[in-house]
């Protein structure tokens, strides 16, 4: 409860300090960069093969530790190398790739057999209808076996994740499972693995700087600059003023000056306008109609960026709506879209990342010493369709534990047909994993068996929620021993602070 009298003096408080931003140590990794001259003629099968091969040792290790010597009903569980080697009535465990057959899930074989080529694919909101109709199978390069058992109802699985299961084959030829093991979190590098912290002064050590108020990173997604829909134009303005440090009073301005980087996690440009006028009459034009192209959204976005860039470095990831390739991993948005902002972009051929860095989606980097993994949200959205749950943070957690940040690629998530490597396999555990364009903000910290800890963040879409997530770069990660309930901890844990840019309208006022 705040009264006007209490705060009236802030109306007349005008210190003129020049705030400066802290440096942002930044090293993007090219994990998801594709070769420019890439070929699309390969088959997708290799991806599954590679993924299984890469993750198998990790699951086997976990399963071996968990199950070796396990005796169920007087029978010891035996390891079986191939899915096809599972013998009826023998207790065994085996590693393989999950395949989900769901009635609502698009099926390429069905499309081919029914000769569905012309119409655009119908994408249901969820593939999941009910548990009974799902068939969950485990496959490797030898074959497939259907999984059965009540355990499956409690564990969310999606196509493409690698798991180990223990069970016996029943008379129906199904593997009746009693336990499941996941690869769990991959090894996590220490902070400052790839980059060096910037010393603030000559003799000031890192240890000291961790006590000083840390710099922060702002993550936003779904800016949705649009030509037709100006409903959140004011909020975008407020966001700009906030980030520039022009809004707010002196104290707020100095807080804002601690934000050392802005990450835009996809969907910056609203592509919806094309769908809005399907009934448009007139001369029908076949092929590409240049007059239908409206450059305004990208111009607005360019203006926004070029105003921000002199004061803050920006990392831009493409999203589902953005002008980039649709299949995962999305490649950087071309700098030509940004005639003015590109002045800050990377010099081609240079090793130094650009001040304005247009990156891939997913994107991996080390920012201020922390390993980060971010996506524009398609991976979570697609996993979301497989499971009954609505808890997206749990899906993100599951992806970390599966060691695969896009398990449903290439089945239902469009993907490049990789041949030599499956980059979606998470080789190093990130410290921060954020996903853009989600319905609401959420955050959680998960832990792994080897003291890994990952902060998960779902970043809401700005155009809907008007929210920005601010992450403190000093307290992002806390040694496991500190994680107890307590005053100090509660403070430390509070690092993602969320700014709700709430454009208030009085209810009685109507929509003027």
């Amino acid at each position: 409860m705040v009264k006007l009298e209490d705060v009236a003096d802030t109306l007349l408080n005008s210190a003129h300090t020049v705030h400066t931003r802290p440096a942002s140590t930044y090293k993007p990794l090219s994990t998801y960069k594709l070769d420019k001259g890439r070929s699309y003629q390969q088959q997708y099968g290799d991806m599954y093969f590679l993924r299984l091969t890469k993750i198998r040792p990790a699951v086997e290790e976990v399963a071996e530790a968990e199950w070796s010597g396990t005796v169920v009903a007087g029978e010891e569980a035996k390891r079986v190398d191939r899915v096809l080697d599972v013998k009826q009535g023998e207790l065994c465990w085996v590693v393989g790739t999950v395949f989900m057959a769901m009635p609502l899930k698009p099926d390429i074989l069905e499309d081919v057999s029914k000769d569905r080529w012309i119409s655009a694919p119908v994408v249901p909101e969820k593939y999941f209808s009910n548990l009974e109709e799902n068939e969950i199978m485990l496959e490797d390069d030898s074959g497939r076996i259907r999984l059965a058992g009540d355990l499956l109802k409690t564990v969310d699985l999606v196509t493409g994740c690698i798991i180990a299961v223990m069970g016996t084959e029943n008379t129906n030829g199904e593997l009746e499972i009693v336990d499941i093991q996941l690869p769990n979190l991959p090894p996590q590098p220490e902070r400052w693995k790839l980059t060096k912290p910037v010393r603030k002064d000559d003799d000031e050590e890192m240890v000291d700087s961790s006590q000083s108020p840390g710099s922060k990173i702002a993550i936003v997604s779904g800016l949705s600059f649009s030509a037709s829909d100006a409903s959140h134009a004011l909020e975008l303005n407020l966001l700009l003023e906030y980030l520039l440090g022009e809004a707010l009073g002196p104290q707020g301005q100095s807080d804002v000056s601690q934000i050392s980087r802005l990450i835009i996690a996809g969907d910056s440009i609203d592509a919806a306008q094309a769908d809005e006028q399907p009934e448009k009459r007139g001369a029908k034009k076949y092929g590409y109609d240049a007059s239908a192209y409206n450059a305004l959204p990208s111009q607005l976005f360019d203006e926004f960026l070029s105003e921000l860039l002199p004061t803050i470095p920006v990392t831009l990831m493409p999203g589902a709506q953005d002008p980039a390739n649709a299949s995962y991993p999305q490649q950087p948005i071309h700098a030509a879209i940004f005639p003015t902002a590109r002045a800050y972009a990377q010099v081609p051929g240079s090793k130094e990342p650009g001040w304005f860095d247009t990156t891939t989606n997913p994107w991996e980097a080390e920012v201020d010493g922390w390993r980060m993994l971010g996506t524009g949200g398609q991976n979570v959205d697609d996993v979301f369709k497989y499971v009954e749950s609505e808890d997206r943070l749990s899906m993100m957690e599951a992806m970390c534990r599966w060691r695969c940040c896009a398990p449903t690629a290439p089945d239902t998530l469009w993907s490049y047909p990789f041949q030599d490597d499956d980059p979606f396999v998470i080789k190093t555990c990130p410290h921060l994993y954020f996903v853009g364009n989600q319905p609401e903000f959420g955050t959680r910290v998960i832990h792994g068996p080897d003291d890994q800890s990952v902060r998960l963040i779902t970043v809401p879409s700005f155009s809907h929620s008007k929210e920005v997530v601010i992450v403190d770069t000093e307290t992002l990660d806390i040694p496991l021993s500190l994680r107890k309930y307590g005053e100090r901890d509660a403070y430390l844990m509070s690092n993602p602070l969320e700014i709700l840019l709430n454009h208030h309208r009085h209810p009685s006022e109507g929509l003027g």
Partner: protein, 437 residues
């Protein structure tokens, strides 16, 4: 002080347009915080003279009461958090609210604490739709800071200064040119053209058609002739892409000198990638990059040379295949890649993961190995495509096989004797292929 009141009176009472603090600060060249203060003063002053003649909006920033934000349904996630056996995530949600003066007290009541409150805008009429203010922001574009004076703007208007900012600086290179064209940010202005004309000619006359390799050409005349380096890249670009004949000449001369610029080749086809095309930005490359760039160019040249030689391999392999026709298909496939050339010319990538074993046990190794497959495409030019080929073989003999890929002596001898001559032949072919055109 009277001046700003006059300005505001003009704007609000005469023109009847709303004004925001940012607009005022840009119009009067004052700090944003001063502008906010002015708006506040003027609002008080004007309404004292004539009640209700000016209407303000305020920007409130602080932490909202918990229950209020719950009404908005924002905290669902965080409140469900403690169920996990994790530490409860206390997330501070700061809320920025733009509010009309009539609603101010009400909104403030919904706040737990307010860290900042200031006048956002003034308008001659009660503001129905706050979204109208975004139109006012659009007129800001007229005052948009020119790139050069960013730091000045920071001091003047209160924008946060970032001392680390990096640009691909177009103005940084030519001092002379910059002075000459203070108004025009782009280097390729007509004003400089006459000065650079001789240089341009010189470059065109050069035998090497290295049009786009700015470094190469700027190297000889880099420091001693100061007016040159600035506009030159632009000129070069023109020289490189301008003459269509030249580009043909380039293509023709390339195969003769094996050291060509791979980039030029790369970009003859349009790439749909997100990266900027080279020639787009050729002129903007800062000089300090040149060192690393030069080495990377060397690498590229090296790579290209390897590629060219692999092409030879390709032909070789053709010939070889004929000879090996009756050999073990599997072995042969393996050999195609690593066998014939001296290792140095091989791309290491090919050898890195040539075989992935997915399972061993029960006496068999199963997996896939990488092979170089031959593919025929339309124009009858074979190209190499890496792919995986399944294999399943007995475990025992496998290591031996791997250690010494021992083809039959006759075959290897044939291959060896064939190799050098084959290479020469292939090169000859390549040259004749181009010269014919």
């Amino acid at each position: 002080m009277e001046e700003y009141k006059k300005h505001l009176a003009d704007r609000l009472l005469s023109e009847e347009k709303p004004i925001t603090y940012r607009l005022l600060s840009r119009a009067l060249n004052v700090h944003v915080n001063t502008a906010k203060e002015m708006l506040y003063e003027y609002h008080k002053y004007q309404n004292a003279q004539k009640a209700d003649s000016i209407h303000a909006t305020y920007l409130v920033y602080g932490v909202k009461n918990r229950e209020i934000s719950q009404e908005d349904g924002d905290v669902d996630m965080s409140s469900s958090m403690p169920d996990q056996d994790e530490t409860p995530d206390v997330v501070h949600t700061n809320t920025l609210t733009l509010v009309r003066e009539e609603d101010l007290t009400e909104i403030l009541a919904a706040y737990e604490s307010v860290s900042s409150l200031h006048v956002y805008s003034l308008a001659p009429h009660p503001q129905r739709d706050l979204a109208m203010l975004s139109d006012a922001a659009k007129s800001l574009a007229a005052y948009t800071i020119k790139e050069q004076d960013v730091s000045v703007a920071a001091k003047k208007f209160g924008t946060i200064l970032n001392p680390h900012v990096r640009r691909r600086d177009r103005a940084a290179r030519p001092k002379v040119a910059a002075a000459a064209e203070t108004k025009l940010p782009k280097p390729a202005s007509s004003a400089i053209k006459p000065a650079t004309a001789p240089v341009e000619d010189k470059i065109k006359a050069e035998p090497k058609p290295t049009g786009k390799s700015k470094r190469d050409v700027s190297a000889p005349s880099s420091k001693d002739s100061t007016p040159v380096p600035g506009p030159k890249p632009a000129a070069l670009k023109r020289g490189g892409s301008g003459g269509i004949m030249q580009s043909f000449a380039k293509a023709a001369s390339q195969p003769k000198r094996l050291k060509v610029q791979p980039k030029e080749e790369d970009h003859t086809t349009m790439s749909d990638d997100g990266e900027a095309d080279d020639d787009d930005i050729a002129a903007e490359r800062p000089l300090k990059e040149s060192e690393s760039a030069r080495t990377s160019r060397k690498e590229r040249e090296e790579k290209l040379r390897q590629m060219m030689e692999e092409d030879d391999d390709d032909d070789d392999a053709d010939a070889e295949k004929d000879e090996h026709e009756y050999g073990n298909a599997d072995d042969e496939a393996m050999e195609d890649a690593p066998a014939p050339k001296s290792e140095a010319t091989k791309e290491p990538k090919n050898e890195e993961i040539s075989e992935v074993v997915s399972s061993t046990g029960d006496g068999r190794r199963r997996g896939k190995r990488k092979v170089m497959k031959k593919k025929r495409i339309l124009d009858d030019q074979g190209y190499m495509e890496p792919g995986w080929e399944s294999f399943s073989e007995d475990e025992a003999p496998a290591p031996a096989k791997k250690a010494t890929p021992a083809p039959t002596p006759t075959a290897s001898a044939a291959a060896k004797s064939k190799k050098p001559s084959g290479k020469g032949g292939a090169q000859g072919n390549l040259m004749s292929f181009f010269s014919k055109k």
